[in-house]
């Protein structure tokens, strides 16, 4: 099977390899021959043959020459990159990418490695080293955030682990943690902090306000997350405070960067009592949505008030059968109907 003949040209050698014959490439000493070998292999499209030739060239050519020649041979280049990825030859791969000035790909290839680092401290340090890499401007800020987030999570995790075992903190006793906060996404981390560390002053790493400022979390996202956390804890006063703002005259009013129907949805999912739910249903701007939600969740006062506001006597009368006989709601309907 082995081919010992010295007569085959590079072209013929490639032919024989395509037919499955194992050929020794050692006698091709000149750069010229080697390049013909490579070009013939590429033209033949057979991946195995291309790989065989590349392995040979990788071993017998100086790195700079190999890189330089591959730079003008796209197919062979891609083949080598794929090959290096498969065999895990990370260093050579990065050198190649650096040579080719494929800076972004280089940066991402390097960043990808963080997934193989299990130890959080080491991963954190590794992420730090990625920050200076030639990412695009947008991606650079994301990598920066990734590092900063993990750095914080490590601190928060250590503190909370301590609080848990000390057993003094009520919230950790009542709601034991089901998982570590390490390596979780930003929004999950924000939820966690809104849950366990809501009232902390801005100076601590686990304060939700701090998170918001550091990572420039938009209002919408912040309010949604805080709402979900406080609703889960049934902390209705906190929910109230989220939407209450004081205007310059000192009057309070309610507003939200998300539709109030969303607020209602989240409250309802957390089994908020009707009195609380009602407050927010009342604030839903779109009349039809407001009526739908109010009817669905039995917020009678809101239904009644809305029908009154749109002057729909028919519906208001019809609604009487939905309320209890002799209740305050029934009286309210009657008094409105009798003008």
């Amino acid at each position: 099977w082995q081919d010992y003949s010295n007569d085959w040209s590079p072209k013929d050698t490639v032919r024989r390899m395509q037919r499955g014959k194992v050929c020794s490439l050692e006698r091709f000493r000149s750069l010229q021959d080697k390049l013909v070998l490579l070009d013939e292999a590429v033209a033949g499209h057979d991946g195995n043959v291309i790989t065989a030739v590349l392995i040979f060239l990788k071993r017998t050519l100086r790195r700079e020459i190999l890189f330089r020649e591959l730079e003008v041979r796209q197919v062979a280049l891609c083949h080598l990159i794929h090959f290096l990825r498969e065999t895990g030859e990370q260093k050579l791969l990065l050198d190649l990418l650096r040579f080719l000035d494929k800076t972004e790909e280089l940066a991402l290839s390097q960043y990808r490695e963080h997934l193989n680092i299990q130890d959080v401290e080491k991963r954190k340090e590794f992420l730090k080293s990625c920050i200076g890499l030639p990412f695009s401007a947008e991606d650079t800020s994301h990598i920066q955030d990734h590092y900063t987030l993990l750095e914080r999570q490590i601190i928060i995790e250590a503190n909370d682990r301590h609080l848990e075992t000390a057993g003094q903190s009520e919230i950790f006793r009542k709601y034991p943690r089901k998982a570590l906060i390490l390596n979780k996404p930003l929004v999950t981390t924000l939820f966690y902090c809104c849950f366990y560390h809501y009232r902390e002053p801005e100076g601590t790493f686990s304060s939700p306000d701090n998170l918001k400022k550091t990572f420039k979390i938009p209002d919408k996202q912040y309010v949604l997350t805080a709402l979900a956390a406080r609703a889960k804890l049934r902390a209705w006063d906190d929910v109230d405070a989220l939407f209450t703002t004081k205007n310059w005259l000192g009057y309070t009013k309610k507003k939200a960067p998300i539709g109030f129907h969303r607020v209602v949805e989240i409250l309802q999912r957390n089994s908020a009592p009707v009195q609380v739910l009602q407050e927010y249903v009342r604030l839903v701007e779109d009349v039809e949505t407001r009526l739908n939600l109010a009817t669905k969740y039995k917020c009678h006062d809101v239904v009644i008030e809305t029908y009154r506001d749109i002057k729909d006597r028919v519906q208001l009368t019809a609604y009487k059968c939905k309320v209890e006989r002799g209740s305050a709601e029934e009286e309210k309907i009657n008094s409105i109907l009798s003008n």
Binding site: G20, G47, E138, V187
Partner: protein, 601 residues
Amino acid sequence: MAAHLSSGRVNLTALREAGRRELREFLDKCAGSKAIVWDEYLTGPFGLIAQYSLLKEHEVEKMFTLKPGRLPQADVKNIIFFVRPRLELMDIITDNVLREDRGRSPQRDFHILFVPRRSLLCEQWLKEQGVLGSFIHREQYSLDLIPFDGDLLSMESESAFKECYLESDQTTLYHAAKGLMTLQALYGTIPQIFGKGECARHVANMMIRMKREFPGSQNSIFPVFDTLLLLDRNVDLLTPLATQLTYEGLIDEIYGIQNTYVKLPPEKFAPKKQGEGGKDLPTEPKKLQLNSAEELYAEIRDKNFNAVGSVLSKKAKIISAAFEERHHAKTVGEIKQFVSQLPHMQAARSSLANHTSIAELIKDITTSEDFFDNLTVEQEFMSGIDTDKVNNYIEDCIAQKHPLIKILRLVCLQSVCNSGLKQKVLDYYKREILQTYGYEHILTLNNLEKAGLLKPQTSSRNNYPTIRKTLRLWMDDVNEQNPNDISYVYSGYAPLSVRLAQLLARPGWRSIEEVLKMLPGPHFEERQQLPTGLQKKRQHGENRVTLVFFLGGVTYAEIAALRFLSQMEDGGTEYVIATTKLINGTTWIKSLMEKLEPAPF
């Protein structure tokens, strides 16, 4: 068992037979009793070629799944590894071989069968681990194109799209070309080749070169295929992203069809037996095979889901009436005839029961608010509405942390329908995704950009509206019950890829030169010489046969659309479909996601 393969215009049984023959030859080479150690990924595709009974005929006594550790006991003379040429599998094989007890008697011989090709890299790897010499027979089994149905072939290469379009790796294209050479050896040289796309060009080049270099492939078989149409997936990135609305398409979207099998939640399939109270519900998923051998399935698979209900209820009446016949059978002859029909009727009834249950399961999903909202946004994008700003529904879904792939499908759809997103919009989506699902997804987003699915707008021109109008991709008046156009498969959107095939047949691509230039990659035509005497003389009224090869994946909806064209009264062309992989939006995007390690905690 080949009913489903011989039902079409081209009898694909021959292809399967060729595959079986090659397998038998290899098994016989390893004489004596044998055990096969399977790369799990291969068991599905192999099942479409040969069942266990065939293996048993060739002394295969045991079958095991490839995994690390010591191989199971099994008193057999040969151990054969059936594997794809992947390095990580070589590690497992090495482990198996090294742990083999050399002192045991009788000793077992090792062999490897690489599917579909041997790999130098893998053999080198085994050599470096010191185990290469342990194998007596090291061969390849060129399972390139596997027949799935009478008009459908697939390579089931799941990394094909990523390799071709992200890594510029032409290995899959090489296999595709090889598969086509095998087809031509069995069904004759294909005289005309059309193509659109870079990869299509490569495959055509490879085919021409292979023909030149292996002269023995010139054969005297009368050509079955008139035309080969090679299409790059990236010529139409839109279609796989949209939710399919045919019956088979929805089954795949919701439950996933693997090698013609689907696993369904068992509750709806529990047999209702009289007087059996308190029976536990089955916990194993219900596994069904779906192909054209099942009459009812062949009838409803390609219909828009909204048209399936009426077919099922009509069928129910017919079957009821047929069973009623027994009351009308009076003579012995009539009774005998009824009894002989019974198995067929029972099969029909059981088939109806299965599909009624499946249709109910699907309906639960398609009538849900979320499905409706999602579909609405998809259709807005496809008809060109509001593709240039951040979409509220997508934002809401991210905020509610819907599955990431769902989000990615939608933002990619928006990007494709807008020929790329404005930088501000793209950055906004990216930030929201990374903050909600984790920063490591930068790698996936990067892959999507490379593939052209989610990218910034390069020029200020959005070509999509022109393409949409010229090719009539969005049809407002769709008839889901009795369609007259392929747009029924997405209830309004005609798959771009299939439109190209349709226009190629009639009136030809000259009529859409401008639009073709807007789509990526070259378009070309090649002719292959047929030996004299084999020139095809078509009978009057006989249809042309075109093989459409999707390089990078095809969806069931596109297959349905092509079948629709085949059935058209005066269509003139019948289609056979080949692909590197059967995909849907979810599996497709998944293949482009970075394999993230499971969280350490």
